[in-house]
Subunit: 228 residues, 4 copies
Amino acid sequence: VRTRPWSDVASTDTGSRLPESGRVEAFSDGVLAIVITLLVLDLHPPEEHGKVLHDLLHQWPGYVAYLGSFAYAGVIWVNHHQLFTRIAVADVGLLWRNLALLLATSMLPFPTAVLAAAFQHGSQADKTTAVMLYCCLATVMACTWLAIFQYLCGHPRLLSSGTPVNFFVSERARSLLGIGFYVLAAVLSLWQPLVGLLLTTAMPLFYGLTSSGWSRAAAQTEPTSSRP
Amino acid sequence: VRTRPWSDVASTDTGSRLPESGRVEAFSDGVLAIVITLLVLDLHPPEEHGKVLHDLLHQWPGYVAYLGSFAYAGVIWVNHHQLFTRIAVADVGLLWRNLALLLATSMLPFPTAVLAAAFQHGSQADKTTAVMLYCCLATVMACTWLAIFQYLCGHPRLLSSGTPVNFFVSERARSLLGIGFYVLAAVLSLWQPLVGLLLTTAMPLFYGLTSSGWSRAAAQTEPTSSRP
Amino acid sequence: VRTRPWSDVASTDTGSRLPESGRVEAFSDGVLAIVITLLVLDLHPPEEHGKVLHDLLHQWPGYVAYLGSFAYAGVIWVNHHQLFTRIAVADVGLLWRNLALLLATSMLPFPTAVLAAAFQHGSQADKTTAVMLYCCLATVMACTWLAIFQYLCGHPRLLSSGTPVNFFVSERARSLLGIGFYVLAAVLSLWQPLVGLLLTTAMPLFYGLTSSGWSRAAAQTEPTSSRP
Amino acid sequence: VRTRPWSDVASTDTGSRLPESGRVEAFSDGVLAIVITLLVLDLHPPEEHGKVLHDLLHQWPGYVAYLGSFAYAGVIWVNHHQLFTRIAVADVGLLWRNLALLLATSMLPFPTAVLAAAFQHGSQADKTTAVMLYCCLATVMACTWLAIFQYLCGHPRLLSSGTPVNFFVSERARSLLGIGFYVLAAVLSLWQPLVGLLLTTAMPLFYGLTSSGWSRAAAQTEPTSSRP
């Protein structure tokens, strides 16, 4: 690797520039749009003659899980955008960490389907397992956010000018709080899985309401960018 | 949220600007392109030996539902674009309402599949249920359009300059009329499900023909933007 | 429609401009990228213990159909791009016709799967049916191309400057020739379905080799846009 | 083809310009984003009552294959971007070769699913077959990279200025080394399929760590584009 003949022409080599954040964002947007739309594939049309209404109603955990995960992916998209408006350039460390976030997000349809299946025809233990799997993935996802925040704190040059230095302090606190909530939901699911399901699928509301975008909106009802 | 150390530097904080409408539109386009393409996954290749032609013909409700939902998603895309050419900047309230519209749109493959399955091997009651489910989702979707129009009426600053103030009056009328049609289709499906199916899948024609884009085209056959 | 209160302010109404071709193209690109990638979902992993190699080999019609449809979608993308570099602005008539093309393209995975299934475990009649279905869709697709070419011939204002007026003459000839080939393949499949399958899946080669892009490349080996 | 009436107006015909690399890249990005997200569809939620935890654990080869292929597609995306930052304009030869790369990438979910299925309920021979299929596709993919590098070496006009001429020498070496590794994994799977599985799914690490992007990052910790 180090013996590459062109490694000493780095400063004039315009062709090998690191990807700007715009491209990373476009790819992430694509993945998020696909994940949020693929979720519907786990809602199955009833096939049994004469029992469509019954089967549709019986599928209610599928709808709860669908709505929860849709909101989750939606909030991730909003937060991802909010974050990337503060990033000017992406280096490889950020690329890796962003790919880890996309990995966790891409997996979302799986625990969602497990949740829906377990609450439809699973035992008590099955339901607890399903909630725990979902909380596991959500915790991993929160950790990838933490890794991104941590990395950006240590690499302020990647940030766009005007980003307050202590921005990531509050963002990290939010991620840690989220992890705490998911651990709580997992523990509660040992006692009563339904409580775990509802807590888990309601979590995006918390993330949504505390996102910097939403909080700004609460503070000021008019968008700043329309000011002359 | 209010205790964030940087909340008093809002006016100089260029990093936390609200997302411009272009990004919201790109994400919405992605979701719509995926929904419109995923619909095909509910057309199943016949597997029975020697009966491919028979099974293909027997699957006709699947084709009707597919065409109806494809046209529906296509019209949503056209209308969404027509709307967003009038929007200059997106705030969080609009983001929420747009996400609600995308939620309803993303679910479209599900009632489509239920419709196709019920009319292929369901009872009379199954078919009525399927039409009603489809009409339900379509009504929810019309309501999300209404919510967006209502919001834009109250937030004229989000609009691009030159948008006529009474634009949303006619748009709202169109949504309300659409809801009326879907309620009618649902009621008729109690009597004759097939009528409900045909009305439901023909609805996009109504939306398409009355969209501002189409009507403008009817009034003038040459595009305005090609004028010097 | 005509009674809209703002219909008399059309000339100053910058907000309701018709979509530029760039957006139509981006949406079409999205649909094409999804179609080309969804095709893989019809290749099924063998599940039977001890027979993976046998089942993989037995699935050969699936690979032929996959490769044929992948090439087909790829050529559509290239041709679509070649066409839209000649279009400056999209009006509603073009939008409708482009949506019809996308409809035909989006359905591609369905006859592909029918083809694969029929040649794996279908009767002779099943195979003929499958080839005919594929040719049917391909003919519909060629007709949507014809409709677009016809429309552009009658609306030269939509074209970008510098497009030769007789460009669409050769394009239409190509589409008509394509329809002829597909009709031939359908007829031959009555006699020998395998010939129909091979002709059908080899057709994209014809479209690819005669596309204006390819032919230009044959005439000049260096790209024009890299000239100073 | 040669008789096209407008083929002699090529130099003034701005409408038929070859696609710039930006569009090829956007389409490739779309395909890659979809492939990386579709992989999750091969993780199946357990349906058996009371055995969700057991079935989830039993599905471990599915997770290994998923992670391996996700990393693979992620590395392809990074490498594709690194490559296209060095390409200024795409001609038809490059378009063909890029489409071949996308073909190999789009098929990725298939051998991934075969791998997962074979290691869950297949015989020893099944597992060997599955590893070999995966290595086959990976080798084909490496060959499409080689074809692209080879083509660019012979068409330096397509490259953006500043790209070192011997860049593709090291890239080709990397592809050849990758092919060697996959052949090794295939051979080892004859003896012990599990070793083949682990080697195969760990390969993206090799590609990732030796990509020009990563190596540059190792050499310099600050991104060049943020310099004033």
